[in-house]
């Protein structure tokens, strides 16, 4: 695997974690609204 591919993958996984957290908050917000 090329160095650049590893770097892009690292950026993608890191932001996926943050987006996943934001998605989790969104689901909780929908549940709280009923």
């Amino acid at each position: 695997m090329s160095d650049l591919a590893i770097v892009i993958g690292t950026f993608a996984i890191s932001y996926a974690v943050v987006v996943g957290y934001a998605g989790y908050l969104h689901l909780r917000r929908r549940r709280a609204k009923g």
Binding site: I6, V7, V17, V18, Y21, R29, A32
Partner: protein, 236 residues
């Protein structure tokens, strides 16, 4: 579009701008493409420090004022701090494996102290789940939140105090140890990821208020439910 959505959308634009700068900036001669991880690793860890600092401030304010909003802010910021510390550790491990030949070393003071800080704040979240009484939960977590922040300067200055695989700070009062283009990309990412933290924090606080309102409504529930008429109940 509500305030939270506007904040998150603009944070998304800021992050994309940061990514653009991260991938057009020049790379380090020795580390090659892996030096781009600096634009993610350093801002994520900075935001984690900021988040735990905000938690400490909110915890102290709760101990003084005893109002629920400070407790809300403390827990919201810890959650974000844990997410950003986890991603900061992950990016650091990938970078370490690439340039040092090892992803983790417990003998390194920066890595070890960051791991301890991460687990202490996981413990903070576990503590909150273990205490059902809101007043007691707020009190105990405020004490922990105010004390645990001592780790932040320890993690930050661990590279100056002990021998470490990590380099010392790249941005110093007497200037930066990197070319201007790399510094610009790093600063853009610092701003973008800090803005992302504030957008998520506002969203998390909004959620906490909604959940409290929902819980209060559930608590009033039995009065709101109309009991069935005797004729509607079959097995009498």
């Amino acid at each position: 579009m509500n305030r939270v959505r506007i904040l998150l959308a603009t944070a998304g634009i800021a992050v994309l701008t940061g990514l653009w700068f991260a991938f057009i900036s020049p790379v380090d001669r020795l580390q090659g493409e892996f030096s781009r991880i600096l634009n993610l690793h350093a801002p994520f860890m900075w935001v984690a420090f900021l988040a735990f600092g905000v938690t400490a401030f909110a915890s102290i304010m709760w101990l003084i004022r005893r109002t629920l909003r400070w407790d809300r802010l403390a827990v919201a910021s810890v959650e974000l701090g844990v997410v950003f510390t986890a991603t900061g550790l992950f990016t650091g491990m990938v970078w370490g494996q690439a340039v040092w030949g090892r992803a983790w070393d417990w003998a390194d003071p920066r890595m070890a102290s960051t791991a301890v800080m991460f687990f202490v704040y996981i413990g903070y979240l576990a503590l909150r789940r273990a205490i059902p009484d809101p007043e007691m939960r707020a009190k105990r977590s405020a004490l922990l939140g105010a004390i645990a922040v001592i780790q932040v300067p320890l993690v930050y200055f661990s590279v100056n105090l002990f021998r470490s695989l990590h380099q010392t700070q790249s941005i110093r009062p007497d200037g930066a140890t990197m070319p201007r283009e790399m510094l610009t990309a790093l600063l853009v990412n610092f701003v973008a990821i800090t803005y992302l933290y504030f957008a998520l924090l506002v969203g998390r606080l909004h959620l906490a208020r909604l959940e409290e309102a929902s819980a209060a409504e559930t608590a009033r529930g039995p009065d709101a439910v109309t009991p069935p008429r005797l004729s509607e109940v079959k097995d009498v």
